[in-house]
């Protein structure tokens, strides 16, 4: 009877240990401050908005897609994604990119665009017409 709990306990501890270890290994933090991202050479999920005025660029030879992102404090960062422009990109309000900051720009391995305002958002009203 004692053995049962010992073995069971050992299995649970091993399992949890492994899980926590792998969690820390594969963990990516969300970061909304680009200064932090630029300071560390660590993988982040950067959240911010697409700088629409600076447009995007598709490089058919290098097969990259690049654009600029801005964080809440107005810092801008160039993002280069090794892939195609995602569906919905033009409609994106906020963008989440996964990757590392290196050599002056953010190397993204994943781009996620969010355009939730379609549902319940209210347009900003500037003036009557």
């Amino acid at each position: 009877m004692k053995n049962k709990y010992l073995i069971g306990g050992a299995i649970i501890v091993t399992f949890l240990g492994l899980m926590i270890y792998l969690f820390t290994q594969t963990n990516i933090q969300y970061e909304a401050n680009f200064a932090t991202i630029q300071a560390k050479s660590k993988t982040f999920k950067a959240t911010g908005s697409w700088v629409r005025e600076k447009n995007y660029e598709i490089n058919p030879i290098e097969k990259t897609f690049s654009f600029y992102m801005r964080d809440a404090e107005g810092r801008e960062m160039k993002v280069v994604y090794a892939g195609t422009m995602p569906n919905n990109f033009e409609a994106a309000q906020s963008v989440v990119v996964t990757g590392k900051y290196k050599d002056g720009y953010f190397h993204a391995t994943d781009v996620l665009t969010k355009c939730p305002s379609k549902y319940e958002g209210k347009p900003k009203i500037s003036s009557g017409m």
Partner: protein
Amino acid sequence: MVGSILLTLALIAGITSVVMYFFTFKGANNTLNLARWSYHAMAVLTIVAATLFLHAILTHQYQYKYVYDYSGSGLATGLTISTFYAGQEGSFFLWTIMTVIIGIVLQQYCSKRGDLESRVMSVFSLAASFLLVMISPMLKNPFAYIWSDPTFLATANINPAFLSAPFIQNFLFSDGNSGQSFVKMSSELYSVLQSGGIAINDFIIQGKGLNPLLQNFWMQIHPPMLFTGFALSTVPFSFAIAALMKNEYKEWIKHAFPWVLSCAMILGLAIMLGGYWAYGVLGWGGYWGWDPVENSSLVPWLVGVASIHTLLVQKKSLSRKDNSSTIGEFAKTNLILSIMTYVLVLYSTFLTRSGILGDASVHSFTDPGYSVYLFLIILILSFTFLGFGMLAYRWKYLDSAPVDPYKSLLNRELALFTGAVALIASAIIVLVGTSAPIFKQSVETKFYNQMNLPIGIIIGLLNGLSLLMKWKSSDGKDIAKKSLPSVIAAVVLTAILLAITGLRDVMLILLAFSSAFALSTNAEIAYKIIRGNKIMLGAYVAHVGIAVFLLGVVGSAGFSHQQQIELPLNQPKEAFGYILTFKGYQPFDNGKKYHFNIEVKKGNNSSIVAPVMFFSQYNNSLMREPDMLSELTRDFYVSPMGYDDGNQKQNTGGNEVSLNKGESTTFEGTKITFASFNFPKEAMSSMMSGGDFQIGAKLSVAYNGKTKEVEPLLRAVKGEREFVPVELQDANLRIQMANLEASGKVSLVISKLNGASESQTTVQPKEVLSIEASVKPLISLVWTGVLLMVMGFLVSVLRRSKESRQQ
């Protein structure tokens, strides 16, 4: 109004039924009929309300905010119906309907089986009532009127006849960012319309429509299936609480069993349908991306399936005569797992509906508002406390039954328990990864893959071995002898798989072997049974299914290849042994969408793969849908990426600039300054009345030392808007308006003129389609496996519901 009243009455009936059923349980002898009557009243009221709601959708009654927000005219009937559950209100509504309908069956079921009804139904009605609170007028009311909160409606959705009417001018607004204009719908406008005798449905003539990503067959079947699964998970929970209420833990096992199985069947099927949707239509490249939304419904499924295995052990131990004085093995485990399945469904709802996963998922989320957020938390906490509170209250009675010690470790009970533990471990992994965004963390998909891989191997081995073991105890030598044919078969199968796919990853090879072992063991037994009592087949078919599924996972995960390819028109290119030729595009769906036809040749076989691209007004984006060539051993999967028609760069997104009055921009050394809009008064009034008009943007362009005044135009003729560009041959420049905003900003697209001068006419415009092609081996096994599993579950449901009738 009628709808809101019906749902409110349904809620009142629901609460009455909870109370009356509870009184019946407490011994009152005149409340059962009232309880039944109120339950059915709740069900009927909900169904009538749903019919009304569906009618409102089908007849496009835009006075309901929900219908305006998620539905629209011009959709096929099936899709129009599916807009019922395109938003939060509707999906909670759907969940509620499924729940009350299942409750009707459950009530029938329980009334025939001892004194179950009052206990089970009081808990079940409580769950249904909670859902009714969610869709009540207080929270996510599907029947909310569009004017109850001020809403901005795009003028395109308003009957143009009214846009010029004087009364509306106070309600017209425009958005500075996008240049679109809106009508502010509010109770004031509503009363203005009312006093003018204008019906709201004459005023609003179109809804926002259904997100194009959702406009396909799977939208019509995946959500109803998922919510049926969710609704079914309420049943085992109710049975477990019912057992705790009576402090009797034997009878509920066999009664709950068919329900647990049906829940696992429907939820499993729903999850797979979602996977197929993602793979075949949405073009996410695979069937499973460990996306939080998919994960969150997988977790309760895993726990539910785990509970099937431990329920089986308890059932078996109760069937033994010498155990008649105990409550059986795993009594506590079964109660906990049945409670957890439902709590995890609620948790899944919380994750996906509260907006908390906002940044973490490919799915779009909306913040449902503070009160709904709070209610979702109350919902989880209530049922968690109800479940675990009851469990704690009865804990001392649940002291583990004295089980006579097993003679060896090799027994089926332990194998089943270990299987359940493996499933729960997998559930914990997925749960931890999925919950990480709550703490502003996230994990890579590697986390799920690496953790689940060894568990998959264990599950495969147990899946086969447990069948070779006997209940209570078995002889090691006997098992070794019996498993030999399966081991040989598994080795051969793994070798074949390696030959086909070239798999070299050790863990995946192990998974392949263990699944192949499970497959052959189960197939062998199933083959023996098929000539006997076919109703016993369920478990084996389901286990063959999971083994086949795992083999499909090995194939598709271990050896998928992908490649980006540019396909110029009519120029054959080779990829993965196929010859691909882009044959041009073809409009369909009234010219709204385009098929890009690619001829795929292999040897003498040739077929057409036609991925789809179209521009969606709904979200102002290019939408892409993949297409594939399915073969027995592999899928050839083509995702469209882009199309270049070879003419001048019409990459409108790429060269767009926004200018305020007086601002300038420089393009290739040319300075372009925006002076002002040319917007005459007549144009303004004509625009308001929906007539023809013309607006210009006065620009000065400085190049080669001179300055030229130009004016690109926005022209509307008979409701068709057109942007007329200006072209400056000597500056090699083309300027077109892309948008104009009421704030006084103009958006311009500036591009070089295509050098279409004589010298360059020899250059053929090159039409190029870019695609991402991939080969996914054995993916058909993934679908086959799940379907087999579902069939197995179905047979088991039949068998176990038959058993539950036996006293």
